[in-house]
Amino acid sequence: MAEASTRETYGKTLVELGRQNKDIVVLDADLSTSTMTSFFAREFPDRFFDCGLEEQNMIGIAAGLAASGKIVFVSSFAIFASCRCFDQLRLCLSQPELNVKIVATHGGITVGEDGASHHAIEDLALYCALPGFTVVVPADAIEAAEAVRVATSDHGPFYIRLSRPKTPIVYPEGYHFTLGKAVTMRQGTDATVIAVGIMVDKALGAADILARQGIDCRVINMHTLKPLDETAVVKAASETGAIVVAEEHLAQGGLGSRVAQTTAREKPVPMEFVNLGDRYALSGKAEELLQRYGLTARDIEESVKSVVKRK
């Protein structure tokens, strides 16, 4: 299966955008060789600022630049770009709705061996809690490039979460990304898996296996967590009668919470959730961790079977 790195794609896309638009500036916190903003730094040294290990300061600087008309990309690891600077995100970016794009790499537990201190598993809850923020988790490198392009032209604060490891390609070249519009990856009538990020590919894998067992499963890529495509959620609930939400995140506050809030109000149906639950993960290889903490195609398959029984 073809794989590509979302962060490498981000780095290259940023250079391409930087050539087109002189107002784009990039900030990083001493991680540019990992977040791949180093590509931009090399080509546009005057528009790149390494803020050192000062994430709080970096968000404030980003706000000042954005208030002065710049389109500001800010990168770090997802853990430091969320938990470390939340008050700054809130008052400097969210409240005044400034044009800053936080593109964080190393989301979730697939960071792997670095362990709990580096696993960003509450970032989606935090960012979704911020009024005015658009929150996107691309499913593959093609979607990551598209999301970064759209964020550049769409005014306001963005959070885009990318991964450390290479991720399977789920889209053909030429895929067109529409912000806030979920993508039905596969039609189905018995249940719907609503997934995000690396879980989209796993959901497609689960749907293949389920098909052989006679369960016709719809798969939706909800790349934009906020604003949520509620129409797609309600349609899935109405047409398939059961929903499984899969995400590389804690149980609270992420995609699962957001989808459940919509179904609870508009169309209650049986639901199951594939996520990390309420715990921190250990050090280990990415694949080992996904197995250990129940984030595999097999886990999605089991959840779909359970939810279908509850219809």
């Binding site: 404030g60 600087i61 000042g64 630049l65 954005a66 002065s68 710049k70 008052l91 400097c92 409240q95």
Partner: protein, 261 residues
């Protein structure tokens, strides 16, 4: 004019029934000097691209900023009476979304210097000659972010940035030296790579010459450490931490206004 702005602070906070008079009064002379002498600004066009930027990091001193903005014509003086009222453009802490002339939403302390760095970097990128001024409190220099920003402003050699510390020596619950000592304060900034100027923050001439002096410094940012008195101008508010975040009663306001005649 500083006296007039102080009178506004007393009336505004008394009318609102809440707010922060102490730290507004200590900053009154600095704000007056900036808005009436130092800043190149255009109240009729708050978004003028070449304006000097003033960033109030100590967002709780919003009343004194609002008084200066009103008296320089950003909005009607009568609007000052709406401070902290529902749907007013004058929020409890300075807010860039609603108030003409306010550059930054502040109120969570320690963030303003970072914001100012971003603004100063933008000036450099755009080859603009405007200057960025930021007013900090001494209390907020307890926030670690202030020192992150201090490091980076020196790293980026931002000689188009002037920070002013309204060093009134007090914070909400008492003297900063008793709660979290900041001394030796000026030497800390020097160690962080800044040019420093110590002044009496209630002496107009000293404020003006410090601002002019800062413009001549090349290759590094300047901090003006302005020693001030919290509650300056009102005898019973001076050096009284109780008036950090408490509005005067009407009876107290009348006494204060008499002193400020």
């Amino acid at each position: 004019m500083a006296k007039k702005l102080r009178r506004h602070v007393i009336t505004m906070t008394a009318t609102a029934g809440s707010g922060h008079p102490g730290g507004s009064l200590s900053a009154a002379d600095i704000i007056t000097a900036l808005y009436f002498k130092v800043l190149r600004h255009n109240p009729e066009n708050p978004q003028w691209l070449d304006r000097d930027r003033f960033i109030l990091s100590k967002g709780h001193a919003a009343p004194i900023l609002y008084a200066a903005l009103a008296e320089t014509g950003y909005f009607p003086v009568a609007e000052l009476a709406t401070l902290r009222k529902l749907d007013s453009r004058l929020q409890g802490h300075a807010d860039r979304k609603f108030t003409p002339g306010v550059e930054m939403s502040a109120g969570s302390l320690g963030m303003g210097l970072s914001f100012a760095i971003g603004v100063a970097l933008a000036a450099r990128l755009d080859s603009k000659i405007y200057r960025t001024y930021v007013l900090l409190s001494d209390g907020e220099c307890e926030e670690g972010q202030t020192w992150e920003a201090a490091l980076s402003a020196a790293q980026f050699k931002l000689d188009n940035l002037t920070a002013i510390v309204d060093y009134n020596g007090m914070q909400l619950s008492g003297w900063t030296r008793d709660i979290m000592n900041l001394e030796p304060f000026t030497r800390k900034w020097q160690a962080f790579g800044w040019h420093t100027i110590d002044i009496d923050g209630h002496n107009f001439d000293q404020i003006l010459s410090a601002c002019q002096g800062a413009e001549k410094i090349k290759g590094k940012p300047t901090v003006i450490v302005a020693r001030t008195i919290k509650g300056k101008g009102v005898s019973f508010m001076e050096n009284n931490a109780a008036f950090h975040g408490k509005a005067p009663t009407w009876e107290e306001a009348e006494r204060a206004l008499k002193e400020l005649e």
